[in-house]
């Protein structure tokens, strides 16, 4: 095999990395290059570009190598795939990261890898790249390392010293699916790796007996990714799994990735259009759990199938299924109840709470404050607005859902 150029390797190893949805670069420790080195981080991350698939480019997201000894059916890099293979040297990854960074194209590096030879060997190489960036080049930008579940705890501990974020992919929403589609992976090992990251972060937050702060450990936290639509799990069960993960491992994010057809696919998975709307609804539901005080079961129970209504958003679906709670009197309602009004976001609710201290809040005020009144109007009462019978009208859902497509007569 002829030696590949850097450009050819980059093409192969970024193509191989595109199925990982995470690109976040926010929420790490504040630091910058005025005290030496190159780069800065902290605060909210920056998306430097967007591709036509709607995903942002914040980090250089590449695989160290796409050679892999595992055979996960949903993955383009599985051992049984005929995809072209390549491998970066650690120096090449470091150079690409720094040169893109100096041109203001990225916030940092998101490094993942196929499993070569052994989990420890692979994780060791990834840690070496992070160490070169941090120690040899004084790189202050963002580093996200994909943790290999079976790697030894010492390597994960060292990774946490250099990386802003560590992540382990749960891959699929149910253990049975992991065992079936990713036979070399074990759900309990994946969760144990997440537990290790949480424990490492907690240990780093505690002061030592001398009062000194322990070395920082993955200060931007951990995240995970779940593939949606490769197995038959309902949205309700997906959200329950997410709730378990959020509560157990202090995750910053669960990413949902609609299963997407891959070149050179496995015979056991369907080549279907990725369920992008379902993915979107799951993200909305995830937000409701994290910022709006909803429980997974409440959201999942809104539709008897256990799946989210694809034609309307999950908060509206919940409100339509729980109309006894509405209409809400905006002047008096608790913050918790305002957060449950369709069309009110967290910022709108904050503004309402501030504005109602200054006087009555009217319909036009809500419009100005960013409320989506086309949704909210059926669920609120205001000094100058009452929804009357609208809240309980049988046709309310039809006002929001797109009309069913007319069948054509042949």
């Amino acid at each position: 095999m002829a030696q590949r150029t850097l450009q050819q390797k980059l093409a192969i190893l970024s193509d191989a990395a595109k199925y990982d949805a995470s690109c976040a670069s926010s929420g790490t420790t504040r630091r910058d290059s005025r005290s030496g080195g190159i780069g800065s981080a902290g605060g909210s991350g920056i998306c430097h570009a967007y591709t036509p698939d709607g995903r942002c480019i914040s980090l250089l997201k590449i695989l160290m190598t796409n050679f892999c000894i595992y055979d996960c059916a949903y993955c383009i890099n599985r051992v049984s795939s005929n995809v072209e293979r390549a491998r970066f040297s650690p120096e090449e990854v470091v150079t690409l990261t720094l040169e893109f960074y100096r041109r203001n194209m990225i916030e940092g590096l998101f490094l993942s890898s196929g499993i070569i030879r052994s989990p420890d060997q692979t994780m060791g190489d990834m840690v070496r790249i992070a160490r070169m960036l941090r120690v040899d080049h004084g790189f202050k930008g963002y580093i996200h390392l994909k943790t290999i579940p079976d790697a030894s705890p010492e390597l994960v501990a060292e990774a946490g010293l250099y990386a802003d974020r560590l992540s382990v992919n749960i891959e699929l929403p149910q253990d049975a699916s992991i065992r079936e589609l990713a036979p070399e992976k074990r759900p309990e090992t994946i969760r144990a790796a997440m537990a290790d990251v949480r424990l490492g972060r907690e240990a780093a937050k505690e002061k030592t007996h001398t009062g000194r702060r322990a070395a920082r450990f993955a200060p931007a936290g951990q995240s995970t990714q779940m593939i949606i639509g490769a197995d038959a799990t309902t949205d309700r069960d997906i959200l329950k799994t997410s709730a378990n993960l959020y509560s157990g491992y202090d995750l910053k994010r669960v990413y949902y990735s609609a299963f997407s057809p891959i070149p050179d696919s496995s015979a056991i998975l369907p080549l279907v259009k990725p369920p992008l709307i379902r993915e979107h609804r799951l993200y909305q539901a995830d937000w409701l759990m994290r910022f709006y005080g909803f429980e997974a079961d409440e959201i999942g129970a809104a539709h008897p199938s256990g799946n989210l209504d694809l034609s309307i958003d999950p908060k509206l679906a919940w409100a339509l299924a729980n109309r006894a709670h509405f209409p809400v009197e905006v002047a008096r309602a608790t913050k918790e109840m305002l957060l449950r009004v369709p069309g009110f976001g967290t910022k709108t609710v904050q503004r309402i709470l501030a504005a109602r201290r200054n006087g009555p809040v009217r319909y036009a005020d809500l419009l100005r404050m960013g409320a989506i009144m086309s949704k909210a109007r059926a669920f609120v009462t205001l000094p100058d607005w009452h929804p009357g019978a609208l809240t309980d009208s049988a046709s309310l859902r039809a006002r929001f859902a797109p009309p069913p497509e007319q069948l054509q007569l042949l």
Binding site: A17, P52, G54, Q174, S247
Partner: protein, 469 residues
């Protein structure tokens, strides 16, 4: 009419100085014209007047952002707001006020433009003039934000020389930042890293997911002309359907010959033979799916200690910490147990310590997991492992802590209170001493906790005597 001219750079500070002076004379906003190119007004700003002028930090932050807006009315609006603030301090915090709303929108537009400048400036490498590498960029923001946006680049790129040229002027950095008046757009040299960047952009794109709306809203087309990668977008979109169709047509492929060999080497079939010792039982238990608890819990928490111990201590189930660490009795209740054992003279290394149920059962509540007591079915499923452990250890005495352990060992589900401190028969015939679970003691308070702790310590002491006898 008073006229205030503002300089090209340092405008916010200049506005602030003039506004303070005007407000200290309570000059009406209608009597001032700001930076309008000199068509109206000619009176100078009067000297500082007698009236106090105050502004909150929130207002100054807002004003600093609004000052970088392209709207020529911004200075007058800010002065109007400052004057209103002198009588009505609250209006700026009221989102329903029209002026607050307008200034808020202007500030938001500026912040977004600054954010986009931080995102979309693309440096080209220039020939270095000294030991430091040198880079340059051309950028066209929507608002005059050059000064507001450059501190970010100063912090991020301190070890290189750079310039950012814009229609508003040029910022140069060589260790310190300077601003020059606008000049012609610089000729930026070809840069090989930009070709690599385009390779990256084209290949990180997934043709099976097209969401151009999301792309356009976050990367507005007005910025595209200076981005090296956006030239590729049309072709990428045009190609996408063909690439997806090609994937479909190709269908499933035949695995290369070596694949089966590789997976056969690493894929170990789970050992399902009857375990012959404690270690192999523990390994098998780590894959246990006898009940549904394994799906939510992190891992099986197997027993720990001396597998030939005369005493076996059985608790209920692992808690949050045990589940994370994969070790029994490391959480708060476990620590209480260890302390009490030490006081009773029981050496934890000479005991086999385990739980009736080996997986953590919980309900998620936001960022916390609330412990749940295992149900009868879960206890019965897990008894398989407890019986195995008992078979290997063959303890002279078993200490059952709490109702779950008591039920798992004796099959007797009656309340624990009258039974505590007594010895019953296990289902397999061995003696079982019943005591409180230490987590119960942690949940009680005051005298009741002290009493329960005393009883717990007595029971542990009794256990020690029984195995010594």
């Amino acid at each position: 009419m008073i006229r205030v001219d503002l300089p090209r750079f340092g405008r916010f500070q200049a506005w602030r100085d003039a506004a303070r002076q005007l407000a200290s004379n309570r000059v009406s906003p209608t009597d001032v014209t700001w930076d309008d190119g000199g068509l109206f007004g000619s009176d100078p700003v009067p000297p500082p007047g007698p009236q106090p002028v105050t502004a909150s930090k929130d207002f100054l932050d807002l004003a600093r952002s609004v000052a970088s807006h392209s709207d020529p009315e911004r200075w007058a609006l800010l002065y109007t707001a400052l004057m209103r603030l002198q009588d009505d301090r609250g209006f700026i915090a009221n989102p329903a006020d029209p002026l607050t709303d307008r200034l808020g929108r202007m500030a938001k537009s500026v912040r977004r433009d600054i954010h986009k400048m931080h995102a979309f400036v693309r440096f080209h490498e220039l020939p270095a003039q000294g030991p430091r590498r040198s880079f340059g960029a051309w950028f066209e923001p929507e608002h005059p934000i050059l000064e507001a946006a450059t501190p970010f680049f100063v912090k991020r790129f301190a070890d290189m020389d750079w310039l950012i040229a814009t229609p508003e002027g040029t910022a140069r950095f060589d260790g310190t930042i300077t601003y020059d008046p606008p000049a012609d757009r610089p000729n930026l040299p070809e840069d090989a890293s930009h070709d690599l960047w385009q390779t990256y952009f084209a290949n990180i794109f997934n043709p099976a997911r097209i969401k151009t709306q999301a792309m356009r809203s976050e990367m507005p087309v007005k910025y595209w002309k200076n981005l090296p990668e956006t030239g590729l977008i049309a072709q990428m979109l045009a190609d996408a359907p063909r690439r997806v169709q090609a994937m479909r047509d190709a269908g499933a492929s035949t695995a290369p010959g070596f694949a089966a060999k590789v997976t056969a080497r690493i894929r170990q079939a789970p050992d399902e033979s009857m375990p012959q010792d404690m270690d192999s039982a523990g390994r098998q238990a780590s894959r246990c799916t006898r009940c549904d608890l394994c799906h939510a819990a992190t891992q099986t928490v197997w027993g720990k200690g001396d597998p030939a111990a005369p005493l076996m201590i059985v608790g209920e189930a692992p808690g949050d910490q045990e589940d994370l660490q994969g070790l029994p009795f490391v959480g708060p209740a476990g620590q209480l147990l260890h302390r009490t054992m030490e006081q009773a003279g029981l050496d934890a290394r000479r005991v086999w310590m385990t739980n009736a149920v080996k997986h953590f059962k919980f309900t998620p509540r936001g960022k916390r997991r609330i412990h749940q007591t295992p149900n009868v079915s879960e206890i019965k499923h897990c008894r398989w492992w407890l019986d195995l452990e008992r078979g290997f250890v063959q303890p002279r005495l078993t200490l059952a802590m709490g109702a779950t352990a008591a039920f798992a060992l004796t099959g007797n589900n009656r309340p624990l209170t009258p039974r505590r401190g007594q010895v019953e028969r296990a289902l397999d015939g061995g003696p079982v001493l019943l005591t409180w679970h230490p987590s119960l003691i942690l949940r009680l308070d005051g005298d009741r906790a002290a009493e329960a702790q005393k009883q717990f310590a007595q029971d542990l002491a009794q256990a020690r005597q029984m195995i010594a006898a």
